[in-house]
Each structure stands twice: as C-alpha cells, then as structure tokens.
Amino acid sequence: MEIALAVPPDAVFIVLTTITLLAAILALQAKELIYGAIALGISFIGIAGLFILLDAPYLAMLQIAIYVGAVVVLILFTIMLVRREVGEEVVERGERGEGAAGLWIAGLLAVSIAGLAALAGPNLASTPPAGVLSVSELGPVLVTDYPVPLVILALLLSAALLGALMLAKVER
C-alpha cells in the first residue's frame, strides 16, 4: 500500500524524529513519573509514525495497540501501586553525576554518528527501492516460513502471563 503524502516525506520525517527524541528524553527527565509515562507514550506514537513512513502500516498499528494500549497502561498502573502513601507525591531530584554522564554519552553518540554517516553513508541506499510490502504478505510468511518462532512466542506469552500473575499475587 503506497502512502501518498501531501507534504514532502522529509518534513514529516524530521517532525516525527523530533517528537520521538524529545519525548524519549522527557520520559527520563520529567520530575514526576506519570509525566514520564505519558511522554513515553508520545514517543511510542512517534515511532509508530516512523513505521508508517517505512511502509509498515500493520506494524505501526500493532505498536500503538500493544505499546500505548497495554504497556503504558501497565506502567501507569504500577506507578500508582508503588506510591508510599496516598497523596504523597514522589518528586525526584536529579541524581549526582547525571549531567556529566549525559554529556559523555552525547559526545560518544555524536562521534559514532558522525563516523557512521561518513564511512557507511555513501554505501547505503538513499532512496527506497520500488516495490510495495503489502500486509497480505505478512501473514503467509509468518505462518509458512516462521512457524516455530510463532509457536515459541505463544508459549512465551503464556509463561509470561503465568509468571507475572504468580509474582504479583498477594499472599493472604
């Protein structure tokens, strides 16, 4: 399915990237955990937008449904359960050495990204090849070529469900 955009895809890409990165930083730096969880949700929606730009609409919907619809809900629920008293707000101060660590990582990241863009940039594709990845191909490929991971995924899901249930159960 070809996505027809009225604006050039570069502009959409830059907007989505900015939203995603800013929201990810905000998720870690926000004073209150709940704001962080909401920012994380916005970051996930930005990533879903990037999936749509990459011609993977089914993955984008799955990302929104699973991450924003389930993982963020779980996180919010856990945040509400680990408050010490009702009404006390857990406001966090920054940790020691946070700024220095952030600068180090940003520096390393900048160097590695510059190196990547310089060395590998010319060798990587700059326009996507023509051809459409349709959703109706994903199902048959999943079941025909990768049936074993599918079954293992199902078993893992049931194991995770039982495990989370057993862990969070309150012994009376």
Binding site: L28, L54, Y67, L116, T127, P129, L167
Partner: protein, 102 residues
Amino acid sequence: MVALVSYIIVSAALLGIGIYGLSVKRNAIRILFAVEIIVNAANINFAAFTRYLNPPNVSGQVIVFYSIAASAMEAAVGLALILVAFRVNSSIDVRKMDKLKG
C-alpha cells in the same frame, strides 16, 4: 526521499538516550522506560533495513512483530518484579536493592 542513514541515526540516538537512562537513573521504573526505548530503537533499525533492501522483503517485519510482542511480555514481567521488590524493600530505588536475601 529520506536516506537509510537518517533512520539509522534516529535509531542510534534513541539507543543513546536509552543507555543514558539505563546507567544514570536510580528509579526502577525509569530504567524500564530506558529499556523500552532501546528495544524501540532496535525495531526502527530492523524496519528501516527491511524497507531499503533490494528487493523488498517482508521478513524484517516478522522480526519487528516478534520484538514488539516479546518486549511487551518483558515489560509485564519486569513490572511484576518491581512490585515484588517494592514489597520487600519498601522502595523502588535500585541502589537499595543490593541484598540477595529476602
């Protein structure tokens, strides 16, 4: 059109943000945020390479599908663990979770 390098740069930036959160933060739930951000960075990487392969191949999307499901599971179990740790230590500060007993 957007070059493949741009998507890899986005993925690397998200990875950097996730590593920062993982190494500096002391609140267990923020560390979980960082882990989710890192997994999403990897997903973007896979999806970008899937699209820019010549000819387009849908197997990369299978990997992302699997990764989204597996990471949701891991978030659920991780949050259950945080709940248990909170009950034992009365705090979600990871610097206080340094005893093997209990």
